[in-house]
Symmetry: C2
DNA sequence: CGGCCTTTTTGAACGGCGTTCAAGCCGTAC
DNA sequence: GTACGGCTTGAACGCCGTTCAAAAAGGCCG
């Protein structure tokens, strides 16, 4: 049972503690210096990331992190509002890395036909999810408490992923709204295939089978677009 | 919540206490009668289901269920090995209901062309997920502990869902392996679209937009199959 | 140096979780 | 009546996230 009961989450706590906020009041204590804070923040995030990679999201626990970071539990709550905020920060990093991977595939196939470009993106997505399984899973395993909204950065990152697909369809779908919809549908489709494949809920994970499913889907979509 | 290896129970504790098993040893106490056990079992499952529907999977808690069922926490562990087993039992029910919904759509479109049949299935899936959000989410939110495997029934249920899609493709894809792959890919694709739409991680849930995405995907796939 | 002040760090404490298990309870059998 | 099971019970155990009063740490000033 991997999720948690809702916690309170300030809307933008990820944006706290910007350098300029500390300029308003000169810190009389160097430990209130952003550098100090950021150091612990980085340490905590590093440990959190390692925990996700090695054991999964469920192992991101306050006491665990504190003991590995050599500090008290309370200190974690000094740099992150709560564990949700830490997880969101970690997932934002992962989302960024996923974005880079997709962007690389997108750029590399710049002048190829639509079919190839879509396939390159889909394969890059699958590749990333497969070789960063736990990090990737963490993105979708983590659920915000009922009221809370994902930070803007989160949604922007997701939108920029969709935009990569959208860009591949620019020659095939002239209407912008329709293109946007198609891009999201295709992205979600590949996500669905990868998602069900990695959630070993039906038998073991078979990379080759998954790859072929992706090829089938993208092939159908590309042909379907042309035949339109 | 760790899956301790069962004391003496095999993987099918859901199947325990069938009438025939009680014939082997006549119970010396009526409370060991299947009827008694099943009554509590049903009560617990009823409460569990209501908790999922009303508040989500996270509210399926031992103390909560016990208090609503008017029994002690320990009694729950007499009819379910642990909460995971309860959740799996609940999800199995949901999976069955989903299967019925899809089968109805499948049967109703018996003689329609492939495109319509696929669309009917996809729409039925979306319809089910949308009007049973929490129950549907619970299926994918719940993760088995590392070592454990889903019960056979679970996988059989999933396979029978795929089979419905497969059946729609029988005229379009002659090779059985390829048809199987296509069915899974399409199912997963629709699942992906519905999944990302309902996980309000990117903006609010917009049923109409989702419906159009599904129409786009199925349309592409159907045309793509013909153009093959 | 010793106060003074600010901010961080600390970890015991709180409430809640899943799960266990010794002790009691309760029909039945003898 | 007594003995025998299995069922029920709920306190207890060991976790969890989170809080917050108290302690500590570092700069400042007289």
């Amino acid at each position: 049972m991997l999720y948690r009961l809702p916690r309170n989450l300030g809307e933008d706590d990820l944006e706290r503690r910007k350098p300029e906020s500390s300029r308003l009041k000169k810190p009389s204590n160097p430990r209130s210096d952003p550098a100090f804070r950021d150091k612990l923040r980085d340490t905590v995030m590093g440990i959190g990331r390692r925990l996700i990679v090695q054991e999964g999201l469920a192992s991101v626990q306050a006491r665990r992190i504190a003991s590995e970071a050599g500090c008290a539990v309370g200190s974690i709550y000094n740099v992150f509002q709560d564990l949700d905020a830490l997880i969101i920060a970690l997932n934002t990093v992962t989302l960024g890395e996923l974005g880079s991977a997709l962007k690389a595939a997108h750029d590399a196939s710049k002048n190829a036909p639509t079919h190839e470009r879509l396939l390159a993106l889909a394969q890059a997505y699958f590749e990333f999810a497969g070789s960063n399984r736990q990090l990737w899973r963490a993105i979708f395993e983590h659920h915000l408490p009922e009221g809370a909204k994902a930070p803007a950065e989160y949604r922007d990152d997701q939108n920029s992923l969709f935009a990569l697909v959208e860009d591949c369809l620019i020659d095939d779908i002239s209407d912008a709204a329709e293109r946007r919809r198609a891009a999201r549908a295709l992205f979600a489709s590949v996500h669905g295939i990868v998602s069900l494949a990695l959630d070993r809920k039906l038998g073991e994970f078979e990379p080759d089978e998954t790859r072929k499913q992706i090829e089938f889907l993208v092939g159908c979509a590309a042909r379907g677009l042309q035949a339109k």
